[in-house]
Symmetry: C2
Subunit: 651 residues, 2 copies
């Protein structure tokens, strides 16, 4: 039976869909496959080398002694864990004995670093052994545990090996003895959410309820009074790890920084550190979907609506302020100073992915796609070896990606997302298959206990035509849900060449094609993909008078290198035609947008600084490239929002 019903019905249920498992999905397109190959061949090895060169691997040998350089950092284990996770995802789809052995070797080191009681954290084992669990707010101890757990689950699911899974189960079981509401336990939770979503994964991988209960405990306890972080600080009597630049005692902003200002079900606005916020909401959606808790689901919806209505960059970037690496105020979305951390956009993909499964609503997948193709993908260079931590929507020049960071969360986060991309494309349940993203490739599903293969053929995101070939072993009835993207105004559908009127088939952002599917049945989806002008809500001060260009899911930008005219002085008249043009040799093959703009003319000004006559303008051909590919050809100026002004004062 099709479990997808009205939203009211859904509210009473658990997950509507489950994502197709990674190993069941093949990607063989022209857009993602090269990025994923670079990810396998460059990024994952490069990041291993970085972990090794910076001492992160060696730290696991526990031979560090006070005075040695470098001193292990509280985050180090998480970088290693994310590397294992990324490598495991890669192994799931692209077996590689050398990588497999390399992962095994690091896992052996991790296992050897685990303490007799199950504890596993190099920083607190080596550098501050006396301070275990004394600084949950700032020291990222449970955060690192969460990443180890995610790595253990990914490794198990990819390889079937339990080597790391067993380690992290022991660690999680030990953590469960330390934290909770029983006498003698600490009623704490981590300042940087992560372990919550990891424990849900561990529950799914092992079927052990106790991990789900521990996740639920951490989520439920958060933000309750008396505030744990206050009590902890008082008990500890010393500043936290980041004291001085963060966490100002009893101020609301300090509590909001790690979403600990209110119990999660009472939170109505996304606030604070953006990555933390996303990891929390991801876990909330996970718990809502696993337990059917309507109060958590409602909280997720409220927070989602607030984010999307007030605090989301067009690129899917979130968290506008560097100061807290997070959210500032409603509609405060500055372009040049946008923080928009890569990890935060990735976190939004995680959350959106859970919401899609939970609500079976395309609006979540719209945001997932928006973030993925823009504010996430901009985080890594085309050659896979340089990364953005921040993803501004405008640059005065001089900004460029870096090979690594002291706080190196973003590069391995990108690597694990690209390596696991397959799981974001499809969902299924007993009576339905859903296609969220259009990516050439194929996937296997089990519908009504029958294996069904769906193959996509498409040049998406460069072209809006997608052919889907459905291949069940035997004819079988199910509903094929094809997402009608929010960016798309017009879609034409044919099944086996027959035109289907999409009007009656729309269900929460999906075309619902229910029928008995036979081997070779083919759906052709033609999504009109013209260049679109996009405008921001008038309260977004930074974008007043400006227009952005989008084609399909891709947000575009002007880069200095493509435009003779200085970007600060160009404008795009409202009526200027815009054309898309394929450039096979540019940026690894891309589609550019061209339009006739105007540029303020310096001529006639001489040494005059102010005058009564406005500047004349002259024509200037504007060339825009996909935002995610900016900064691959030098650190020139860039802008995603372009002043929109008339062509009335022609020179």
């Amino acid at each position: 039976m099709d479990r997808i019903g009205t939203r009211e019905e859904a509210a009473a249920t658990t997950f509507a869909w489950r994502p197709a498992p990674l190993a069941a999905v093949v990607i063989d397109d022209s857009f993602w496959s090269p990025r994923r190959r670079v990810n396998r061949e460059q990024t994952i090895p490069f990041q291993y080398a970085q972990c090794q060169d910076t001492g992160r691997i060696d730290a696991l040998r526990l031979t560090w002694r006070p005075g040695d350089q470098p001193v292990p950092h509280p985050f180090w284990d998480s970088d290693v864990a994310k590397w294992i996770e990324a490598a495991s995802y890669s192994l799931a789809t692209h077996p590689d004995p050398a990588l497999d052995a390399q992962v095994d070797a690091v896992i052996a080191l991790l296992a050897s670093a685990q303490q007799p009681d199950g504890y596993l954290n190099t920083y607190f084992t080596l550098v501050r052994p006396e301070d275990r669990w004394t600084d949950l707010r700032d020291a990222h101890e449970l955060y690192c545990a969460g990443h180890l757990i995610e790595a253990g689950v990914a490794h198990f699911q990819a390889t079937g090996k339990r080597s790391l899974l067993a380690v992290v189960q022991r660690y999680a079981d030990y953590i469960a003895t330390v934290f909770g509401r029983a006498p003698g336990q600490k009623r704490g939770y981590c300042g940087h959410e992560e372990i919550e979503l990891a424990l849900v994964k561990l529950y799914r991988a092992t079927g052990e309820d106790r991990y789900l209960r521990l996740a639920q405990y951490f989520v439920d306890e958060r933000g309750t009074q008396p505030y744990y972080f206050d009590q902890e600080a008082e008990t500890r009597g010393t500043p936290g790890y980041f004291e001085g630049h963060r966490s100002h005692g009893h101020l609301r902003a300090a509590r909001e920084y790690n979403q600990a200002h209110l119990p999660v079900r009472e939170q109505t606005e996304v606030v604070g550190h953006a990555v933390r916020a996303m990891y929390l909401t991801t876990a909330m959606a996970d718990l809502a979907g696993e337990t059917g808790d309507p109060t958590l689901r409602d909280a997720c919806r409220r927070l989602w609506d607030h984010l999307c209505a007030r605090r989301l960059y067009l690129t899917g970037g979130i968290g506008s302020a560097a100061q807290n690496e997070g959210f500032s105020g409603d509609y405060d979305l500055p372009n040049e100073s946008a923080y928009a951390e890569t990890c935060a956009a990735i976190g939004l993909v995680f959350w959106a992915h859970r919401m899609v499964q939970l609500e079976a609503d395309g609006r979540y997948a719209d945001v997932l796609e928006q973030a993925l193709y823009n504010g996430v993908l901009s985080g890594v260079s085309l050659d896979g070896t340089r990364f953005f931590y921040e993803n501004p929507l405008a640059s005065p020049g001089g900004v460029s990606r870096k090979p690594w960071f002291g706080v190196a969360c973003c590069p391995p986060n990108l690597a694990r997302l690209l390596a696991s991309l397959g799981q974001y494309i499809y969902s299924a349940n007993q009576s339905a298959v859903a296609v969220h993203l259009y990516v050439q490739g194929s996937a296997r599903f089990t519908v009504h206990d029958q294996e069904v293969t769906v193959r996509q053929e498409t040049e998406y995101p460069w072209d809006g035509t997608v052919r889907l070939i459905v291949s069940p072993r035997r004819p079988v009835e199910f509903a094929l849900y094809l997402r009608w993207p929010g960016w798309c105004r017009e879609v034409a559908v044919r099944i086996n060449g027959e035109i289907v009127d999409p009007a009656g088939q729309i269900e929460r952002g999906y075309l619902r094609l229910a029928r008995v599917w036979s081997d070779g049945d083919t759906v052709e989806l033609r999504m009109a993909m013209p260049v679109e002008r996009v405008y921001a809500h008038p309260l977004v001060r930074a974008d007043v008078g400006a227009v952005a260009l989008q084609r399909g899911p891709l947000v575009y930008c002007l880069e200095e290198i493509d435009n003779l005219a200085p970007l600060e002085r160009v404008a795009l008249p409202p009526e200027a035609p815009l054309t898309a043009q394929i450039e096979p040799d540019l940026l690894g093959g891309t589609v550019i947008i061209r339009g006739e703009g105007r540029v303020l003319d310096e001529q006639g000004w001489g040494d005059t600084l102010y005058r009564h006559e406005p500047s004349m303008t002259r024509p200037a051909t504007l060339t825009a490239v996909p935002y995610h590919t900016w900064n691959n050809r030098g650190a020139g100026r860039m802008c995603a929002w372009i002043r929109e002004a008339g062509s009335d004062r022609e020179g």
Copy 2:
């Protein structure tokens, strides 16, 4: 003989004009007189009280001992000196026995604080007696001396008393023994220019060449190699007073900060701390005018041209960056973050005033007027008791004037400028009288050894009509120069009712009316004063797409309090008519500008953050007030530059 000739002739001469002395000028208009009355009745007493309450007066008693609070600050003497200077100017035009006695009392304290060798500085006498002259770069020692000298000259000229003049002459004579190129002397100069222009004043007041030579020494020595500040730092072996936040050793920017990067004649760009730059160029122009040195005059012209072409706000504010309280890059004139220190605009008035006398060219008086009526006057509230240090051209709200500052240079600088305003209005020489500013009142001149009175009757700056009544004792031939302001496109002139064609009478920005003037001869000048739109050079990134409003010399701005529409979202269509309207009860009597603008409409957006259709706009009456009066009715939003956009998308 009329000394004003071609610019080439002028280049070979000394000052073309001399300003009318303060005591010869009466101001009785409706614009400045109330501000000057407030300055006399509120600001000058208030600032005395501040000097007293903060310990600045008591410090002169030299009773401070280590451990006492407050600790005297290196700048304190300069604040007292500027107060004496302001009070003296006031006494020159408005005798006030109580104030006179108060000044005498402070002078007596200063005299008693003077050391046997002539030295006079409370900070270095009390707090760091062993460090005299060891930190010229940062400790403002000669700067304070300069302000004392200016005070001494002003007091002497206002009252005829030599009490303070004698003190500062002794001090200057002592300084002349310490600094210079003779063996055993220090070849230094001050990090904050000021003493140079003060010594020229002392020379003019006393006729003693040695003060002019000492000024010339300080100006000539500046920026020569080896760099004095480097040698001084090395000899001292300890950080300077501001080390840590300023002066990074050998970096060019650190040298530019105090204009010590090059000998002054080789400098071609205004750089560094803006007040310092202005005080230096003022002294350079003074020296050029007193000595006829063409190389200094050329340097002044080059620096002036650079400033006006690249680094001048429309308000006459200068120095865009808070970081160095000074200049950043060419065309870098951000509005909201504009530093535009009040003292820097005042310094520009000083420099412009010297350039007018030197070159007899109205373009200097244009800038003087621009700064005076906008970026200077904005520095003080209408009630005379609150001050802006920074004068941004846009505000997000929450910014307001303060009663005083830890570094309190701006309030007394404003007080002395307002009190001495008379000297900026007129100049004269043996054969000419020049009117630079239109201010109702009168002035006495000596032309061809005859006394001539000129009376102005006008409502300037609210109205462009000026009647000038010339009253020589006996008919006398001279040229009356009336400035044709740069903001004015059309002027009509009548002499005794007869129309005069101005076309043939124009000389470097002045109408030159040469004739035999008889008692009661009346010139009527009608300067058209419509509301003007002003545009910035297209390289001024901050003002691209924006328009400013000006009427006469006054730059206007939108304040939140007058406009229902949110300022961030308003636009003024290029064709919108703009009308000026007298508002006798607003802001002490003002002229506002009204125009029909458009505001982006939130309606129809709901919770949508981005969409394909631009916002509709709705009409919004825009009301602008003179920029200098902003922030007298609360700390709302403000902008001087308004987005200029069409009215095509009407809601």
